[in-house]
Symmetry: C2
Subunit: 198 residues, 2 copies
Amino acid sequence: MSRRKTDRRVLRTRRQLQESLMSLVLEKGYDAVTVEDITERADLGRTTFYLHYKDKDDLLLQSLETVYDDLVEQIQQRTVDEWVADGQGPWTLAFRHAADNARFYQIILSGQGGSVIKNRVQNYIAATAQRTISQLTQELGVTPSVPLEVLSHYIASSLLGLIAWWLQHDQPYTVAEMDAYFRQLAMQGTTQVIGIGL
Amino acid sequence: MSRRKTDRRVLRTRRQLQESLMSLVLEKGYDAVTVEDITERADLGRTTFYLHYKDKDDLLLQSLETVYDDLVEQIQQRTVDEWVADGQGPWTLAFRHAADNARFYQIILSGQGGSVIKNRVQNYIAATAQRTISQLTQELGVTPSVPLEVLSHYIASSLLGLIAWWLQHDQPYTVAEMDAYFRQLAMQGTTQVIGIGL
DNA sequence: TTATATTATGAACACCATGTTCGTAATTGT
DNA sequence: ACAATTACGAACATGGTGTTCATAATATAA
């Protein structure tokens, strides 16, 4: 007993299902993919799918969590001081990651993709942002004039919104440009960006 | 001949379908509503639905357009000077409109609601913002340091994102507070909001 | 290696929503 | 009143979902 998740079959099955979904999304879009499509490509019985996941959304969300583990590590490895020193922010990595998996996010973020997905990703970003900002303000001993939650969700939605727009228009600007634009908008505000004095 | 859309039956049918959808969404959510639900409540044959709309999304989108006509008029009736003079922006109306139809947008914007809906609304806001900003910069004779499209989509996504968060958390702040927060964030930027000098 | 528990299988099933067809009835504008 | 349009409803084909169950395959622990 107490043989938790060591069973090779389980790991193998889940990995195949995740890979199958990813590749199918790139070919047919998200909505068009059926559970049977997935299991067929994975060389598994359709019944097996429901042995591991509740539905298609469930599979995608768990897959994304796996994917994000890399990103989270990258972000958390750098200290706040380093971000400030670089004059960059965690969003640089976000733009890069999005560009690397452009076709995938183009579909997922289009809204065509699963219904709840985009919101989940946004909440994830917001939570990360909140942690970072909270840490930053404590180190500097300052107090934001806007509730932390409002602040973090503002950043998360604008960042994800820009990324979605950027990808859907086939990246009309480089990663560096988008990073610069976002930095100006988020940090200095639209007033200065537009060119109005104060 | 040339009796375009004057037929009472057509107008009556479409109005009933729209009203039925709206009320059903408030009761069951968006996904849970079926075409039969709609036609049943509207006292119409299911076949009739397909005589007017392609599917559920089609009906919702056309309904929203109707709803937005009011909002657009309100916004366009005020000149840029008036907005600047007030120290407000069109977003004030957006927060108010959202609050007035809170339960509806709570569902629609949750992502649970139709897949493409949220994106459409966002694009609509972005387009409106772009028109407004374009007009503003021409009057003032300034040139933004960020492409207009980037700017407008930044504003649109952050505004809609904040509204969505605000509604999903049952409006933890007043309209006035949210308006003030958004104004600070959008215009002055996060740097000043957080409390970092420059 | 053997025993036992776990997992994969595939056929079958019930279910439900979708979108279309077609002949008929009702209503409308002229 | 007449011709055109629209609403009707029953029927049908389609297709995906999620579940059940008996059976086979496979992994783990002893």
